[in-house]
């Protein structure tokens, strides 16, 4: 795909309410490349929480409300692997047999996870202006397996000359968020996130970076709960900070 003139930005409900800075950073990164970002005011949630809890009618109603926010042919960029995965892979399933099925499929086909868009479409070049730092990258399972774009975050970070990426054990293993899983199976979720936190703490990183705010809410929350001073940050914010010379 050539560089488009305009894109839709689908901020996702989590970023909208909890991590707006990550959303703004993602939008700024795209605009910096000369692409106009449109943020439809009526957008909300992709429907994933209900869909993954078995409430498909409710999920469909919410997904449908989004579909109406993205009427034109512009690419839809989503700063989250799991929400992008929901639109790209599950909307066609969810809308199957519905009157607006073809619209949903069309939307799915032009949906990109943010790092995927930055690398594959914008071929983003980054110039690191930040101080030397060490980070660990947690790739969300949806970005890795559903979207198959796990390496995009790696290749973006690799362009940052002053950033050292620290390895951690069981890197590809789920952090235990899983949406409503963390509420329905809190103790398994707690055990999983504890293991994830321990691996990240042992990595020696100064910051944990991810492309999914669900994972960050889970990991960051658990680190806070355990009173560890290891901050977490969405990749968009991190990239913008490193390349615009701002510091936190």
């Amino acid at each position: 795909m050539n560089q488009p003139e305009r894109v839709y930005f689908f901020g996702t409900c989590l970023i909208d309410l909890l991590y707006p800075k990550a959303g703004l950073a993602g939008m700024a990164l795209i605009e910096r490349e000369g692409v106009k970002v449109i943020y439809p005011a009526n957008q909300g949630c992709c429907g994933q929480p209900a869909f993954n809890s078995g409430y498909r009618q409710e999920a469909l109603a919410v997904a449908r409300a989004q579909l109406n926010c993205f009427p034109k042919e512009y690419p839809i960029v989503v700063p989250s692997g799991s929400c992008a995965g929901m639109v790209k892979h599950h909307w066609p399933e969810l809308f199957a047999g519905e009157p607006d099925e073809s619209q949903a499929i069309a939307a799915a086909q032009r949906t990109y996870e943010l790092t995927e868009f930055l690398v594959d479409v914008l071929a983003l070049q980054l110039n690191d202006l930040g101080q030397p730092t060490k980070i660990a990258i947690h790739t969300s399972c949806s970005a890795r397996r559903e979207m198959g774009v796990a390496d995009r975050i790696d290749s973006l970070i690799a362009q940052l000359s002053n950033v050292e990426v620290m390895d951690h054990s069981h890197k590809t293993e789920c952090c235990g968020f899983g949406g409503t899983f963390s509420v329905k199976q809190p103790d398994i979720s707690g055990a999983m996130v504890e293991a994830k936190c321990n691996a990240l703490l042992a990595s020696g990183a100064d910051t944990v970076i991810s492309q999914d705010c669900g994972c960050l809410m889970n990991i960051g929350g658990a680190l806070e709960h355990q009173q560890h001073a290891l901050p977490t940050q969405h990749v968009a914010e991190f990239l913008l900070q490193r390349t615009s010379g701002e510091s936190e």
Partner: protein, 473 residues
Amino acid sequence: MNQYQAFYKRIDKALHNDQLRRNFRSAMDGIRQRRLAQFPDKQELQILRYRAKAIRNKSLSRQAELLERLEAKLTENGIQVHWAETPLQANGLIHKILEAEQATSVVKGKSMVSEETDLNHYLEQRGIEVIESDLGEYILQMAQEPPSHIIVPAIHKNRFEVAELFQKFHPEQPHTDDVDELTGCARQVLRKKFAYADAGISGVNFAVAETGTLCLVENEGNGRLSTTAPRIHIAITGIEKVVENLSDVPPLLEILTKSATGQPITTYFNMISRPRQPGEKDGPEQVHLVLLDNGRSRIRSDEELVDTLRCIRCGSCMNHCPVYVHVGGHAYGTTYPGPIGILLEPQRLGIDKVGSLTSACTLCGACGEVCPVRIPLPKLINRLRADAVNAKPSEKGVPGTGALRSRSEAVIWKLWQSIYATPLLYRGFKFLATRLRRIKPPLAAGWRRYRPIPTPAPRSLGELARQQGYEDE
């Protein structure tokens, strides 16, 4: 106690057993590494997986015809075929065969289908001695525990725990916690059993219709002894195990052993085609095959869930499951644990009985990524979640459909829908949430045990985007 409470209790027990969790972690890490080493070429792996999937699909789509051919060919070969609808029928059939031959002692090779029917207890209650001859199963028989994994059934025990069991049950043997010595000890004990057992019972990995061949994959040679030393051999398997041609077997076998234990091939691969012929010096005089349905035909009738039956029982999905690795196989409380258990057991036993299993999945996709026959496990598990809370269950669906629908949960999702599908309401909700951000609703107690309730930002992205001049359309 409802099924959720019982499930939580088992999970709690597992999570508080540090030894158990260490055993699983190290065992699963090892087995993942070994599998990975078998597939150095990623593309080659994908080709193998597509091929295996195609073979299994072909077998399933023509199952009725293939089963008929299998029966005819086996009968021609002198193997007696029996059909069982339910576990109880299968057990009854096996007991009858044994009774007719006055068989009182049985050696068993590993068979998950016999676990499904709880065959050991059934026979023991009727005065028949049953000895498990697979080392792992033998350990569990001493410990009186069910398997915690479908391939490595005693994986939850480390060698010290195994040594203790041997000490207790075989005080005549010298105490050791050396793995090879323990295996030697088991061999000593079991060899004697093979010599005098009246019958051997085994599972089947592939039943070939074309030739009437029962294929059995194993590593210890106990399968071969169980199926050749006693005068009667009874094989038991699920009807989905039928494949058409002998040429279907090598691709399945290759991906099975590589995925399961990271072996290019197992130590033993048995192909059983008939009983002992006149003039032959060994082999059983009688060979029987019990073909069990136990819900499989119903599963097959569902266009989407039929994929469940592609399973070749490699165990890879549980080896890679981040939930399984933390809680182990017993926490599931069903014959089959892990992702395939979550998918299969509610279909087999009913959502009203074990539908809660579907909650023990983050939909991370690790299982679907490794499954050698490309079963879309996360997708199907999610489908079962929808069935579990379906407000309008139909007769034909998964048994117990709708059984986990709760009024309060349904109300929450309706409320969620009305907020998120109505832009005006959603904006109002965000306005309140951001302005009253310090007020934490006392929701989700389980979440709060491990993390705080997150604080909304002072302004939502929607508001900030407007302020910064981003266009609406």
